[in-house]
């Protein structure tokens, strides 16, 4: 029962991770870039929603507008920052996205200040009990919305014409160019969709965890997720996101108390600290050593 409760909480937050991770994988597939600034997009999406509701518009419109704004921001980032660096080595591009992360965090700091802010209520208060598991409406809606969006996006990618063009560009941009696909537009599109997803994820995350600059840290948590799932697999990102959410919940709820009980009984070490933060990274190293392409990726997917 307790375990089930943990699993539910884990799945709910995991689906938001999944949404954010999809964005990173999307960009990677299309342009071979790991977007370190994804966390900043998550954070900005939440802040935009907040700012728009402050102007008096309803939450639904606010979420919609903020997603649109984020899509624009994503495309803008691609055009202004990534486009000029087309020929640069991967490592330099990674660092430039890091610069974007730092810059956007600073902008948020300047506009909204360093403190936490009350996020507008998007979902009704209260909770329900299903089969003895207590879950708030907030959790339920955020979780299910995320997973629906993620699946919807996967479907879009797989079954629509634009999705096909995206996949072509991702697979081999020169060949795609040869058959008439406007690859640079596709890349911009990938960036805007990714930023839009991130913004949505940010808004949902803010309903669960509140609004603060700390939202951008989620970008760092995304990396173990992505490597686990495979840098080139969207489905892998979703699965890995859910897995990671559950893993963190179980670490916090079960592993840590067990370990601490053991340590306190036999040694002088009193606590294991933030185990749930380091476990994904330890897992990451393991995966990189044993199966670098992740669970769902395929070999040869390391773009150099």
């Amino acid at each position: 029962m307790y375990a089930l409760q943990l699993a539910t909480a884990g799945l709910a937050i995991g689906s938001v991770y999944a949404l954010i991770a999809i964005g990173v994988v999307l960009i990677y597939k299309c342009s071979g870039v790991v977007n370190f600034a994804q966390g900043a997009f998550v954070m900005l999406g939440a802040y935009f929603t907040y700012a728009i509701t402050r102007l008096g518009l309803t939450p639904v419109i606010a979420v919609f507008l903020s997603t649109v704004l984020m899509a624009v921001a994503g495309a803008a980032t691609e055009r202004l920052v990534l486009r000029p660096m087309l020929k640069a080595p991967v490592v330099a591009i990674m660092m430039v996205t890091l610069g974007v992360l730092i810059f956007l965090r600073a902008v948020a700091l300047a506009v909204w200040g360093p403190d936490q802010i009350a996020f507008p209520k998007l979902f009704p208060d209260g909770a329900i009990e299903i089969f003895g598991i207590f879950i708030t409406y907030n959790y339920l809606t955020a979780g299910s919305l995320s997973i629906c969006l993620a699946l919807a996006f996967l479907a879009f990618y797989r079954f629509t014409a634009i999705g096909l063009m995206q996949r072509c560009t991702a697979d081999n941009s020169r060949a795609a160019l040869a058959i008439g696909i406007h690859t640079s537009n596709q890349i911009s599109l990938a960036w805007s969709m990714s930023a839009g997803l991130a913004g949505l994820g940010g808004t949902l995350l803010a309903t669960l965890n509140g609004l603060s600059l700390g939202l951008s840290d989620i970008g760092l948590i995304a990396f173990p997720v992505i490597v686990l799932g495979g840098l080139t697999s969207l489905a892998g990102a979703v699965v890995a996101g859910l897995l990671l959410g559950v893993l963190q919940a179980f670490t916090d709820g079960l592993v840590t108390p067990m370990l601490e009980g053991f340590l306190r009984a036999y040694t002088t070490i009193y606590s294991v600290g933030a185990l749930q933060q380091v476990l994904p990274y330890a897992l990451l190293i393991l995966v990189l050593l044993v199966r670098p392409q992740g669970i769902f990726g395929w070999r040869g997917s390391e773009r150099l």
């Binding site: 020929k87 640069a88 890091l98 810059f103 600073a106 902008v107 294991v272 185990l275 050593l289």
Partner: protein
């Protein structure tokens, strides 16, 4: 390195020491902060700029050096704490580097990111060695029984260490190993074809880079007198990556410039803000400037400050035709770092 060059470097170091002794405490503090950052930047530059292995784990290595030196210093090892701390960091660096032998580029970068977090966690957990989150209180450095208390003295010690680090880097650049680094950076397959043992070369880069990171960490330990996990987190690693980008990857003077720039920028902005009375958004301004610098430098001047200054200097001299053409065209920008900057 020619005799004259050696003399000039020595004189510059001596002049810096004299300056350090004349400054007040605040000035000396800034000075040794910059010098220590330079040592670490040079170390990272060896790894990333010369050998092409990007690393986000620099702060972890500094931490290892700091904790080692702190514990040894408290136990009375005196000046020996510094080189031993260097060795501890070198070992840790090799540990981080071992997986690198299998991974490349992006994956390796992410692996170093993971290593940074894991070391961070270790610092917090290994209470007996690190005092966990309370931090390790460190007694001042003792050299042959004499207790070093003043910031000025620490600045001089740091300058001496920087001098040694610099000479080592220049020396390495002129050996076979140094050239092997460059080839490995450009293209590992070609390196193998040339008969270079890529794995060993990379490992050497990690070990040497780690050693000097440890030295910098040791100096940090004695100057801040407290080693805590919070001081050696990811943001410090990112600071160092920024330093070598801004300074110019692969450039030795660039590392010093980058270190000075990134370390002094917050103070500069603080003073400007005080003068103009815009204290509110100062912190945000500092971070914005930082992020923008990274972006702008990478897009427009990947070779960093040193190349920028080079171009300004060559523009101010009329004999441009006599200088080797500086490659700035789109095509050549694909090679980050380019050739090893000649130390003149």
């Amino acid at each position: 390195m020619s005799g004259t060059r050696l003399w000039i470097t020595f004189l510059v170091a001596a002049a810096a020491c004299v300056l350090a002794l004349m400054l007040g405490r605040f000035g000396a503090y800034l000075m040794h902060a910059v010098v220590i950052a330079s040592i670490s930047a040079l170390a990272l530059n060896l790894l990333t700029g010369f050998c092409g292995q990007i690393s986000f784990a620099q702060a972890a290595l500094l931490g290892v050096g700091a904790y080692t030196a702190g514990n040894l210093g408290n136990a009375g090892w005196g000046i020996l704490s510094i080189p031993v701390a260097g060795m501890a960091s070198a070992a840790s660096s090799a540990l981080i580097g071992l997986p690198a032998l299998r991974l490349r580029g992006l994956y390796f970068a992410i692996a170093t990111l993971a290593a940074q977090f894991i070391f961070d966690y270790a610092f917090k957990i290994l209470d007996p060695l690190t005092h966990g989150v309370s931090g390790l209180l460190i007694k001042p450095l003792t050299i042959l029984g004499y207790v070093v208390q003043s910031d000025q003295a620490y600045a001089v010690i740091a300058i001496i260490c920087l001098f040694v680090t610099w000479l080592t880097m220049v020396f390495i650049g002129e050996t076979t190993l140094g050239r092997a680094f460059l080839v490995v950076r450009e293209n590992e397959i070609v390196a193998k074809g040339m008969g270079i043992d890529v794995a060993r070369t990379k490992l050497w880069a990690f070990v040497i880079s780690g050693f000097f990171a440890g030295v910098a960490g040791a100096l940090l330990a004695f100057t801040t007198r407290l080693a805590s996990p919070e001081a050696f987190g990811l943001s410090l690693s990112i600071d160092y990556v920024a330093m070598i980008i801004v300074g110019g990857l692969g450039s030795l003077p660039g590392s010093l410039l980058g270190a000075a720039f990134v370390t002094l920028l917050p103070e500069l902005i603080q003073r400007v803000g005080e003068a103009l009375n815009i204290a509110d958004i100062l912190s945000a301004a500092r971070e914005m400037a930082f992020g923008l610098l990274i972006i702008v430098f990478l897009i427009f001047e990947p070779r960093g400050l040193s190349a920028l200054l080079h171009r300004l200097a060559s523009r101010s001299q009329t004999n441009i035709a006599l200088k080797t053409p500086q490659p700035t065209s789109e095509r050549r920008r694909s090679e980050l770092g380019l050739k090893l900057e000649k130390v003149e």
